[in-house]
Symmetry: C2
Subunit: 377 residues, 2 copies
Amino acid sequence: MDDPVTGTADGPLDLGSWSCPVPLRDSPTLVLGHGGGGQLSAELVENLFVPAFTSGAARGVTGGAAGTGEGAGVLASLADSAVVSLGGARLAFSTDSYVVRPMFFPGGSIGDLAVNGTVNDLAMSGAQAAYLSCGFILEEGTPVETVARVATALGDAARLAGVTVVTGDTKVVDAGHGDGVFVNTAGIGLVPEGVDIRPQRARPGDVVIVSGDIGVHGVAVMSVREGLEFGTEVRSDSAPLNGLVAAMLSATLDLHVLRDPTRGGLSASLNEIAKASGVGVSVTESAVPVPGEVANACAFLGLDPWLVANEGKLVAFVPPEHADAVLAAMRAHPLGTRAAIVGSAVEEHPGTVVARTGLGGTRVVDLPLGEQLPRIC
Amino acid sequence: MDDPVTGTADGPLDLGSWSCPVPLRDSPTLVLGHGGGGQLSAELVENLFVPAFTSGAARGVTGGAAGTGEGAGVLASLADSAVVSLGGARLAFSTDSYVVRPMFFPGGSIGDLAVNGTVNDLAMSGAQAAYLSCGFILEEGTPVETVARVATALGDAARLAGVTVVTGDTKVVDAGHGDGVFVNTAGIGLVPEGVDIRPQRARPGDVVIVSGDIGVHGVAVMSVREGLEFGTEVRSDSAPLNGLVAAMLSATLDLHVLRDPTRGGLSASLNEIAKASGVGVSVTESAVPVPGEVANACAFLGLDPWLVANEGKLVAFVPPEHADAVLAAMRAHPLGTRAAIVGSAVEEHPGTVVARTGLGGTRVVDLPLGEQLPRIC
């Protein structure tokens, strides 16, 4: 089927089926950008969901302050996972739905994304994922064989990550009201004693570390979706990061912030941390590892690799006195061999991310408004 | 839009858009019945999901034994929620996706179903729901106002149930690949010490109690979907059952089984318990409370009220020595005023549910194969 976002390859653009990934900020109806992990997503969460869930009044998509009722603190912290106390245990709890198209792509599938995405969200609080729930929304007419492939990939990824699927649910919707297989996973894990990792904890002086090459997952999915070839195959970096985080915590429990730069990419993660902590973030452009194939593909497609989703990478804010030890621990782990220091948190320009370019200039790195790559995870 | 399941009211049936709720057991593609909570659903879970998640090999939809790897015990127990240990706490963990059409119906909406369904699944392990996650899959073009109405209903229901939404996720799919709003919630809650409630624990002699009128939710949704009127409006019984279960536990901690008869209705719940425990179940047909409007609507629509989904009812298996105290505690609670003893667990016909009819005869109450009412929750 032709992708309505990009039009047909060999026919005129059908404006009637136009599917708009660019921002229509005051639109009374949803656009794809509301799911893009950028400003539109943030507005939907802050102005509609948080107030509705905490004080009972959804305020609409623009304007208004965040909710203040019970739970507002946890929900409005906008971390990748919530940290809650229950029966004396300190638990991380997180959920994600997965709607990536195509469902199978080089290096992964919707099945392992559904495990790795939630395992990684928990890891970003320092928690080891222990148990997953799994909810399927299946479209009538989908081959049972496809469901089995997704389930097998999901099970394999769970075993690799050391997490157990303990509860699930399956709904089937009538043909034409779904899209093959949608998966939701939620996960719970224990946060180790002495660990307090959240976006609010960045401090001026913190060293910013990226765990490896960025932009790979998004380009891998985009290449098969658009039927593009870039000489060498780009494979998704989809991977569970709980082992890497455990290695980092063995260097120091005092990690300040961890974030996996999925939708919205590195730019969105850095902006969210800068805003949550009220620090400035300064990044050296040339220090950010972007593989040649990703740079080429992005140049060809008109994408910014810093905005492209990753599924097996993290960005860390680490106190300077622990940075060397953490970097060494990361590089000793298979998923961190290309870890690199890319910048630092600063007192200047609070809430803003600035990149120093190769020519000695600087540019502001904005939170994207909408969606570069729809349905990437 | 006309419902493809029932055809158009004033045009010929379009077989090309036929949406089949009846069982096609050997079909290589999914049918609506796979989501119906009956035998097809059970086969999908037992033969595809459980093996894939526990031993790495999905076996296909028919045939084969359940998986035996790590976690198989918890997942294959097929309880409404899983009970797991984490950091010394005994937790119930559950998830459900909600795809009900229409999204708003007399007595409720997809928003409060999404809270009550998961709160109730946790309550069926004796747990008080503490925290919920919430994942939205939204269709491009959906009015933001509709999302706000769903979110507000969800937040209101959470406050009523005393549970806090602490983490969430929003995905947007392109127009034509979703259906307005799909919601997934997962929940965690603490299981009180001394409580061990699961489908395997029914014993011969246990008294079977139903908490009130059955069949109300399904008929309420069906009436608006089909534009039917039955003289009086039937309103969904959607309600959180954690308070009722707490009242029952204050009578005795030794409840054996609790189940909320959602998809597949009372018949499916009783069959699942009979099979899991290996007991027979004997029910007196006339003792099961079916309101007149529900009986009339079911007669008109050709439905069996015992197969119709409920969203605010439970069925309990209680040791005979505690039955009176539990029944009294239920009747003293607003959600249990019409609680009734409907039968008992017996040594005869293990794994089978038998109803004694008004004429003194008996009939076998089967697990439904597929789906009477698609997309009812």
